[in-house]
Symmetry: D2
């Protein structure tokens, strides 16, 4: 096996591991250097650094301080990488840690993070998913079992100071347009919970003060939560600083398009086997702004779908203009109503959409005033037939199984 | 072959064919009746009723009166269908008319309809696509050839009066929020170009006055422009009026997710072979609001993709809140810049995104403040390798080929 | 639409159509000439020239004179084609004739042709399959419906005299090793039922006397019965005579690997839309002996299979040495026994294996003394679940449906 | 992680591990017991027990004593399993050992085992394949890289005495028909190298004397070398003895249909994560003779193929009767000639067919006298385009790379 250049200890706080960081800043020191052509292994915490537990209470989901996320492994320097290059990353393999064959999914309270359907599911809930080889299932959601499409939710290179400044100004200005919103419009730098790896002294203070939060995806990639960046894929990242500074984390055993449950996909600690290479001056050569990638040849072939449509008229009947966000929300709500007819609770149905390899397509986006989004549920993940028939649905779902819920305090 | 219950004559105006209509209204009379279990054939005009020609000028795209669209074939009554039922429609096959083996794609002028990227491509342009069996290519866009995913862009049942009233109020109120916008926010009823089929006398006037425009997808389905409603798929439509009143048109030989070029996919006249059935009281049984469907087993297996990311920061650097529309626009613009490096013009690249079986995914929609959308281009549609490599791109595209453009008058 | 260069009349005997032939001979005159780059349409009879009827009796299957087959359309000359070139044929599309939306499948009597399982099914039987758009089903085989993978069972170029002589010597010598076998080892030239197209006078006599029978696939391709030569595929044929002389027929709406029922796949009359091109001197450049091809991107994605194994120990327990034929026969017999448990008759199960898109794989062929073959049945073609479960199988198949059988006279 | 119930030590001879055996016999004692519903892990040696080394010489391939193979892990008892039951085995995951991330492929000398093309490649040769995450490539075969379809080549339950006696009689009688053949027709029991696990005393002697060799696949499954029994698949095995007695080994990182190189696929030591269950009396309920299985949803989607045909006329022009073995050999030889045009050596091309996920189909098996077999090479495994074009092939393969060859002594 290739060398493991970043190791973690699940029994230890990620704040104690100086090869971990939870902010983006150009001054965070590289923790390891590799050469183009090298392959190596990196271990990562789950995005919360172990805060969410494998138990029967959603209190941890309700109570988490979201300023601590995401705990990333890195940054890794690649010799010869210079601003303007493309860093080519092969995700040769990704997996869970042998000692931690489980993951979590949940909904944050509307008062602490929320999620895509927070108005419909405003309380903290959680489900635990066990991994059995390539498959996963949850003791909190019966009748569902599927192969994982394992991927890092978050991966990218360090920004340079200019790009960082652009981010901070853009987002801080944006927050200022509605500073009291719950959940907030965005998250500004927040030094008190910042972990800036091996930065010391003044650099440490600067990085903590200025470091961009890791939640949003941005020009460098970052927290894209793209389920298709799965093991076997090849990604081309823009390089902004000397050495690149590749960091990653937030591993998912599986996720539906949109990661609508926010907390999050099936979240896990794990490891990545990576190979790196460079395309010199590739950003300009190929006109690259955001990362581009080639998906893996090895993804579950769940090809039979039941597809739900949604349009950009919201739950209250209000018209929105070509708003795909609203349209996708309607498609999701339509699917949840449908799945409830078979005996799932609404929360279970919502969890399925967040965790299983469902697809979310931008189907029509020009037919004023309505966007049309579609949600694709693979029928093979259920152990019964979910297609409509003339007899109507019957209660197929094993009863008496509930997802833990913790009410707001 | 089964009976063709609606025939068209391409040499004749669709206004002269009383089995065609271009508005949605419950009082438009059924033009044919079928029984559950029947299969039959329907012919359709292209959505503009033949206005766009197979030639070298985009004047028709520039000058079209968009109040005439879409010319639909129907409505067809299904015996026994009652409000609350689900009408099950098998799209057994769909094709182009033998005498019309071509289609068009284009961008409307920003002053007359616009499109997803109208600020970047504000002038009318057009490309013509020839069909050769299952494949299509365009004399205006070199180096591209692909198998069609043939489908109706528009299909659905007649609304009842209550649903129609909801639509009209919703959209007219919405227009009122910015009545002078170009392009407009939505399109109100417009009697002077209405074609309400076999409606006569007072019914005709009422239907023309009140008839909902066909552009947006709505609760009944309608103009969803979902490329995956392709031949071989099975769709479940809510029924609102006695007999259902199924109408359809706007056939596409192929389309990319979003139909971003708006004029439109690869638009064609053609025929559909349908089978109908009923699930009595299915709307309530399954909790259906919008149509649901099962996709075809017979779609081109273009499985190798180059994927572009976009986030909800717009072209000017402005932050938007989890706005998938903006994010998808960025992914599209990123792809266009990339394709230009191989020698395509921007307009050609835009056309490819509108016509080829590209996928648009809602990848991440919870990571405040940025949505992440991905655009998937199947690499096999090009006759050269579009993947990045260390040598950089070379001009692979045959030069000297342009898409017709007609400047605003 | 492109020109139809060979037309047929289903009400007329193929012997009356001089653009049809049923033997391979270099002197059969070209019936049409095309240029590299041309696309055109060809109509074909079913392989028996209309002998098998859409009715409820298998008498025609029992009584057919098999020396009349296969009725091929052609030969077509391609300008500039010379021996040693590769003729590149795009199967742009293939379909049934509009007036003939059905096909047949059957088993020949062991006394007249036989088939792969003729010892188990020695009597003539027949099933009729109706086409509904992309789908087919049979009134003789309930609970099965699937999308067609339409293809020509037989296509290839004319042999030159030397190749023809090789074939005739090889096969006549082979027959001589067991001349009285029933069914025979091979079929020698047989002038009395030969149809040699436009050949006249002495050429006609010579071609009829020497013309190779069309049943076996040979070096030029010919009757390969490869289900994957489906519409959308691209084939590279060796050229032996000036002009190439491309002929084809034996269209199938669908077929399982092996075409085990022999009479045959789902056999139909139909049309092909072809495009031709040349690779000059391609046989030598690429070291080609038999045709090679690239499959279509448009084939039904039936990806969930139940797979049966067979080894090269025959039904009587006799050991054979790495014999894939015997192993595949066992896999087929195993599948038939399994399907019978759900209520299919043996004949119906056999027919499903001959018609549906089942795969036959040469899985292991070196582990002395047993070859291992696998038969893959797509589970989605049944309207019930065929997977094993702890409750055991139940009779799901609609009773009282039989396949016509005609006993030997 | 679940319990590892069979462990191995790669530094130790498998003969020293009493949880390993290399013969099939009902009296080999169970080495572990599990319950229906349990999941657990088993480690396995490579099929030669470590004889073949990761080095630059094929001496080991030439010199191996093939009477030692295959070293299997087991047998495992399943509580409650009785003769006539079906043992349901979920291959939850399969992988290489972390300390052994490589595998071998080779051709045996014709004098010691041979292989499918032994007349063309009569000398011992070897290639070593390195694993990098989901991918593999060989330092001996340039320009090729692909994702593994990991699977056990050999898995099955212990035979009862009656079935064992049938095997031994059948094969010994068969050998007697040509006892001096090289390579032999089959392999009789051979006590001197037998490893019968924990059998002691008289039982040990009896098991060694009678134990069936593990090379051929048989009614119980065994050495089927089916590449599609990959991780994620579900297999239904007939049970013959109380407890079942499940054993397995011969893990492959990847294999082409037929495993034509015989030594073998990409052979490796590794581990399996299994789950077991029972269908009581399933053999009779479902009419099962050989195992059946459902393939994994997680296999590489290499869907673009170049396909080679072969017919049952052998290399010397001799006619064979519907002989799929001969036909597949021709397809393989045709593919090798083709690949050589790009610069591969014949041995490298042969190795690719044995290791990459190529498909071998029984395409036509009734068109007397010729069977037609097809060999499907996924084009995506090469780093250059292998499709034909008008310019002809160019030497794309990196020169100077050879596979080790060891001449017969």
């Amino acid at each position: 096996m290739p060398e493991t250049i970043i190791k973690i200890d699940l029994s230890e706080s990620p704040y104690k591991n100086d090869m971990i960081h939870n902010r983006w800043h150009p001054d965070i020191p590289m923790v390891a250097w590799v050469k183009p052509g090298d392959d190596f292994i990196i271990e990562t915490y789950d995005w919360t650094g172990g805060f969410i537990k494998n138990n029967e209470s959603a209190d941890d989901v309700r109570d988490i301080d979201l300023s601590i996320v995401h705990f990333l492994s890195g940054p890794i320097g690649v010799k010869g990488a210079e601003p303007g290059d493309l860093l080519v990353v092969d995700l040769l393999d990704v997996g869970a840690l042998p000692e931690s064959q489980w993951g979590f999914n949940g909904f944050f309270s509307k008062k602490n993070g929320g999620g895509f359907l927070t108005d419909h599911f405003p309380q903290a809930q959680k489900s635990i998913w066990d991994f059995k080889g390539i498959y996963t299932s949850s003791r909190h959601i019966p009748n569902v079992n599927f192969a994982g499409t394992i991927h890092p939710g978050l991966i990218g290179c360090l920004p340079d100071q200019k790009l960082l400044d652009t981010w901070n100004k853009r987002e801080v200005d944006f927050i200022a347009t509605n500073p009291d919103r719950v959940p907030p419009l965005a998250n500004p730098p927040f030094p008190s919970t910042a972990h800036v790896g091996r930065a010391k002294g003044g650099t440490k203070s600067k990085a903590a003060m200025e470091g961009a939060r890791t939640v949003p995806p941005r020009e460098h990639g970052g927290n894209c939560d793209i389920k298709d960046l799965s093991r076997g894929s090849k990604i081309y990242f823009p390089v902004y600083v000397k050495g690149g500074g590749l960091s990653m984390g937030d591993l998912h055993f599986s996720q539906g398009d949109g990661e609508i449950t926010f907390c999050g996909a099936i979240e896990m600690a794990g490891w990545l086997h990576l190979k790196v290479d460079l395309i010199k001056d590739g950003v300009k050569k190929y006109g690259i702004k955001n990362p581009i990638f080639k998906p893996s040849p090895l993804v579950p072939k769940y090809n039979d779908y039941l597809i739900f449509e949604g349009i950009s008229v919201d739950e209250k009947g209000k018209q929105h203009y070509l708003d795909v966000h609203v349209a996708y929300r309607q498609a999701c709500l339509n699917a949840i109503e449908y799945l409830k007819k078979f005996g799932f609770t609404g929360a279970q149905a919502y969890s399925i959409l967040g965790t299983a390899p469902v697809q979310g397509h931008i189907s029509g986006v020009v037919d004023i005033p309505n966007a049309c989004a579609t949600l694709w549920i693979p029928t093979e993940i259920f152990d019964f037939d979910i297609m409509p028939n003339s007899a109507g649905p019957s209660k197929k779902v094993k009863g008496g199984v509930k997802m833990p819920l913790s009410k707001d305090k």
